[in-house]
């Protein structure tokens, strides 16, 4: 086939075009193929063809996710990433249902209002990303907290009423028993993006995501493109909000939470690669359909319940691995997300041998380099300010020793995890599997120690070993297979969730060993042992991340992986090493949390993923990699914990606490912004 193409001069331009088109749209073709295969397999297992009812309900169930995924893919194409997707969907449906549905407005106006609020929220994200120049992950994390809080303020529990006309508009069959309403919604949404794509605005979004520097030189308004991607994405989230409200007949403040992971998975299943510049909204729609259709397959197979998360993760991995072979990772992807390090690892790091000693005794200058101080100090100052506020606010009830002890103890778990997340982030990566790793390690550790101190002798090494294996799996997927860190760690996280369920059989068993329990809950004078031991850990972390060859290579890789490779750094092994450290830290945190709670639980790590990112950023680390100091991160952990402690004791409604947390994170990163950079 290939030779024929080469040899035949008479090949028609149309067929070349067709082949190029296919190659360019491989992700899309695959996602459609995947969906069709899934429907086929389900039909075979069930022994019956899908009915109109079945297909139309499937599409209706998938439409909210599909609309959110279209929005997410626009933002990903523009080179960003949006963690606030679920929060914006929840916010728009709450605004529409609480303030507008009872005004008797026509359905289209209601939809437009929801879309408008989505675009407004997107515009805020876009402003901070494109104009202020902050990292998308941190900006959208902060807006996520803030919007969740606002949603809870206006809608403390499910309620409101959606007019029947809106439901009819969005959900009723366009042609009875031939075209379901949701199909029309999706087609209209895709057409809207299809039109925008062809305009100069669309070009600037694609350009912003591919090579923003060259695009800028070519006269394309890159900043506008980035901003527009968030506004347009927000508009689609608003549509998702209107749709889900119509589907429910009311608004539910918690409706958006599961959309974050699902929308990212749908986007990646749809063949849109993280990193920007390429992607298709149609693919995302089919990605969403695939995710929802998997429910049917699992039911048809009678699959054990714990398989769901793992199976989805495997499908995601499969889709991305097949997909990856078509696309060559661009330089921008490497820079932004540390992708495709396969080639980079091939060079032997001979250059760095003998240049610097692997380790030397650190001086203060090594421990806290002058250049880093301005990024380290703010978090500590923030922590002190919060402590003083707490002391003033609580007056007589405030006991300084107890406060310090609790602050250190509650911060300790996060501090351990942040060393791992921080290392990975400094290398230009990201570890989304942390929560699931902590849980699995806790479950395994509790089972092995089973209330016995002697069992710690093997429970601790085995648990930490599990952590190392998890890290190795992440590292290999990123550095050898060449997957984007977000995809790899998201998939590994899903598989670990299934493993935790499988290992524990649904309820984790075994108590924490008394020694471990004492370490985290006991008393040495006024202090908890862990509150003191954490200082040893911090010292170790600072030395590791500031005074070793590893640290210097880490910084060089984070700044520019290719240049580091040229200088003889084995980028591949270093990247794997970062994930292994993260896995090890997750293992340790899993053990400590098991000690803290007395036993393991399947939600052991759930509350720790986003705080690790927030603490890393508040601690002055550059989320794109290359800059960071563990003392700063530890300060970030303490500041965050101090803020949580302060808020937890105030009479502020919970919603306001979320808003405060979001604003604090945003303020911190605005303050820490390095104006010299980009």
């Amino acid at each position: 086939m290939n030779t024929q193409v080469m040899n035949s001069p008479a090949i028609s331009p149309v067929s070349i075009d067709w082949r190029a088109n296919l190659k360019r749209n491989q992700g899309l073709v695959l996602s459609v193929g995947f969906f069709a295969l899934l429907i086929l397999v389900t039909a075979l297992v069930n022994g019956r063809a899908p009915s109109y009812f079945g297909i139309s309900m499937l599409i209706a169930s998938a439409t909210t996710l599909a609309l959110a995924a279209i929005g997410q893919s626009v933002i990903v194409i523009g080179g960003g990433l949006d963690l606030s997707v679920g929060a914006i969907v929840g916010f728009t449906q709450a605004m529409m249902v609480m303030y507008f549905t009872d005004l008797g407005l026509p359905p289209y106006l209601l939809i437009a209002i929801a879309v408008g609020f989505g675009m407004l929220a997107g515009a805020i994200n876009g402003f901070f990303v494109s104009v202020v120049g902050l990292q998308p992950i941190i900006v959208t994390l902060a807006t996520m907290f803030t919007l969740q809080g606002i949603t809870l303020l206006i809608l403390p529990q499910p309620g409101g009423l959606v007019p029947d006309e809106l439901m009819a508009t969005l959900l009723d069959d366009l042609v009875m028993d031939v075209i379901p309403g949701p199909v029309v919604v999706l087609v209209v949404a895709l057409l809207v993006w299809g039109v925008i794509k062809k305009t100069s605005l669309g070009t600037s979004i694609f350009a912003a995501g591919s090579d923003s520097h060259s695009a800028q030189l070519a006269g394309i308004k890159v900043k506008t493109g980035v901003w527009a991607s968030y506004v347009i994405g927000g508009g689609f989230y608003g549509a998702a909000g209107a749709f889900v409200a119509a589907q429910s007949g009311a608004a539910d403040p918690l409706i958006g939470a599961p959309l974050l992971v699902s929308s990212l998975t749908a986007v990646m299943l749809g063949g849109t690669l993280l990193g920007g510049g390429r992607g298709s909204a149609i693919g995302s729609v089919f990605g969403a359909l695939t995710l929802i259709a998997m429910v049917n397959l699992l039911l048809a197979l009678g699959a054990p319940n714990y398989l769901t998360a793992g199976l989805e993760a495997l499908v995601l991995l499969l889709a991305v691995v097949i997909n990856r072979q078509a696309g060559n990772s661009s330089e921008s992807e490497i820079r932004r997300l540390g992708l495709s390090l396969k080639q980079l690892g091939k060079s032997v790091s001979s250059g760095s041998k003998g240049v610097a000693p692997a380790f030397r005794l650190p001086s203060l200058q090594d421990l806290i380099p002058k250049t880093d101080r301005k990024f380290i100090l703010p978090a500590w100052i923030g922590m002190l300010v919060l402590a003083v506020v707490a002391a003033l606010y609580y007056g007589d009830a405030f006991n300084a020793l107890r406060y310090v002890d609790r602050l250190l103890l509650l911060g300790a778990f996060l501090a351990v995890l942040v060393l791992g997340q921080g290392t990975v982030i400094m290398s230009g990566g990201f570890d989304l599997s942390i929560a699931a790793s902590v849980t699995l390690c806790g479950v395994v550790g509790a089972m092995l120690m089973n209330g016995s101190d002697i069992a710690l002798l093997w429970a601790v090494p085995v648990t930490l070993g599990v952590g190392v294996l998890i890290g190795l799996a992440n590292g290999l997927l990123v550095a050898v297979v060449g997957l984007s860190p977000i995809v790899a760690t998201l998939a590994v996280g899903g598989i670990l969730q299934t493993l935790s369920m499988f290992v524990s059989g649904g309820t984790p068993s075994g108590d924490a060993a008394p020694l471990l329990h004492w370490l985290v809950n006991g008393k040495l004078g006024v202090f908890t042992p862990l509150s003191l031991l954490i200082f040893l850990f911090v010292l170790g972390g600072v030395v590791l991340m500031s005074c070793t060859t590893f640290a210097r290579r880490l910084v060089s890789v984070g700044i520019n992986a290719r240049a580091a490779m040229m200088c003889g750094v084995n980028v591949r092994n270093l990247t794997i090493g970062c994930y292994v450290i993260s896995g090890l830290c997750a293992g340790l945190a899993g053990l400590l949390l098991t000690g803290f709670l007395g036993r393991a639980s399947l939600s052991l790590g759930d509350n720790y993923l986003l705080p690790t990112v927030a603490a890393v950023a508040v601690g002055g680390t550059l989320i794109t990699g290359g800059r960071g100091h563990y003392l700063g991160m530890f300060g970030g952990v303490l500041a965050l914990t101090a803020l949580q402690i302060l808020l937890s004791g105030t009479p502020l409604p919970p919603a306001v606490r979320d808003i405060t947390l979001g604003l604090a994170v945003m303020l911190a990163v605005i303050f820490l912004r390095d104006k010299a950079q980009r």
């Binding site: 899908p50 409706i255 599961p258 714990y306 649904g506 068993s509």
Partner: protein
């Protein structure tokens, strides 16, 4: 010309691809009549919106035990599914798929009171009996088997007001912010306390109905408070961590701040006199002689919803939209240790288990229903019926 061609390829095929499956589906619809109607056992599907804690595990075990019991094993075919990620879209689709697969009864733990309505309505239209337990849905064709959260919280709040004689500081451990069950209880309790100017809510933490979360959030709260500043804890769940934290703070049982909450075995055990001999008691999982309060909601409720649904389907009856179950209250006055925890033992009024019978302190004690003689504590732990 070429330009035109590429344009059409990039917009038309996706449309066609979108349309093909259901055009095909519509054509085949006539051939897909329900093939499973001939089977004589009822197809019963259970959809768990959440999974992964002891309470849910016990619910599932009790349902499976009921389905395996002599009374039901020839009548029903039980299939249990879990929704990944607590996602309403996926649960909607699960309901659709169950309906399509020929379900006769669907029993739901709904993730949202509203988001599943359309799928539920469709299931009802096709003759499926739809039941929920504990959490409710607003769709009127479904039957909610649940406790009256508002009434339950008022009773709990009144007990606290009486115990404190209208004066004192209260720490509230709430459920999940944004969930109706949590919000209703918080509002009901606060409304009741507003009649007592001496009662003061000094703090509210979000416990998310999970012991680990409660432990962490209360720890944060206590970093700036002393247990001396609190007179009573009002918990939706999580009295066990409250007692454990006080143990670690070195507070003697006689001085512990009492807690009113739901009925995990550890908090029930804490109500027994401190000198009670109990097999396997250790750490904070032991009798403490605390003058506390516990209310029971589920896990027998899941099996009850299953039973009601199946019985109604078999009898061809239509159930009401709401079946309100009483939330039984146990205080130090009527806490009683079980010996075997089988149905006869439970019927005699025992309500507390030794750690030897229930090794997990989070085990829910609400495993007894006089309507379910097939079930007992063991059924809730292992999924095997009493007979």
């Amino acid at each position: 010309m070429k330009q035109l061609f590429t344009r059409t390829t990039s917009t038309l095929p996706p449309l066609r691809r979108l349309l093909t499956p259901f055009v095909m589906g519509a054509a085949l619809m006539g051939a897909t009549l329900n093939t499973q109607a001939a089977e004589d056992k009822l197809n019963v599907y259970v959809s768990f919106g959440f999974y992964g804690n002891t309470w849910m595990e016990q619910n599932r075990n009790m349902m499976e035990a009921l389905a395996a019991s002599k009374d039901y094993k020839d009548k029903i075919n039980l299939k249990v599914q879990v929704v990944g990620n607590g996602d309403p879209q996926r649960q909607s689709q699960q309901i659709n798929a169950m309906t399509e697969a020929g379900a006769d009864v669907i029993v739901l733990y709904p993730v949202s009171p509203t988001a599943l309505n359309r799928a539920i309505k469709n299931a009802c239209r096709r003759g499926v009996t739809v039941m929920t337990w504990d959490s409710t849905v607003t769709e009127s064709c479904a039957t909610n088997v649940h406790a009256d959260n508002k009434l339950q919280a008022e009773h709990q709040a009144q007990w606290i007001a009486d115990k404190l004689e209208g004066k004192g500081n209260i720490l509230m451990i709430n459920g999940l912010n944004g969930a109706a069950a949590s919000d209703d209880r918080v509002k009901a309790a606060k409304a009741l306390w507003s009649k007592y100017p001496g009662l003061k809510v000094v703090g509210e933490v979000e416990g998310k109905w999970s012991d680990p979360v409660v432990r962490e959030e209360v720890s944060k709260f206590m970093a700036v408070r002393s247990w001396n500043d609190i007179d009573m804890v009002f918990a939706q769940l999580g009295c066990y961590p409250v007692y454990a934290l006080q143990d670690e703070a070195g507070i003697a049982d006689a001085d512990k701040v009492p807690c009113a909450g739901s009925a995990e075995n550890a908090e029930r055990l804490a109500l027994l006199p401190a000198d009670t001999k109990v097999d396997g008691a250790s750490g904070s999982y032991r009798p403490m002689g605390i003058d506390g309060y516990t209310f029971e909601v589920g896990p027998a409720m899941g099996a009850q919803a299953l039973k009601y649904g199946v019985d109604a389907k078999l009898a061809g009856k239509k159930l009401d939209h709401d079946i309100v179950m009483p939330a039984k209250v146990v205080t130090a006055d009527n806490a009683k240790l079980c010996t075997t925890a089988d149905f006869a033992d439970l019927s005699s009024g025992c309500n507390t288990f030794s750690p030897a019978l229930a090794p997990n302190p989070e085990t829910s004690t609400a495993v007894y229903s006089e309507e379910l003689p097939q079930l007992n504590l063991n059924a809730s732990l292992t999924g095997t019926p009493e007979y």
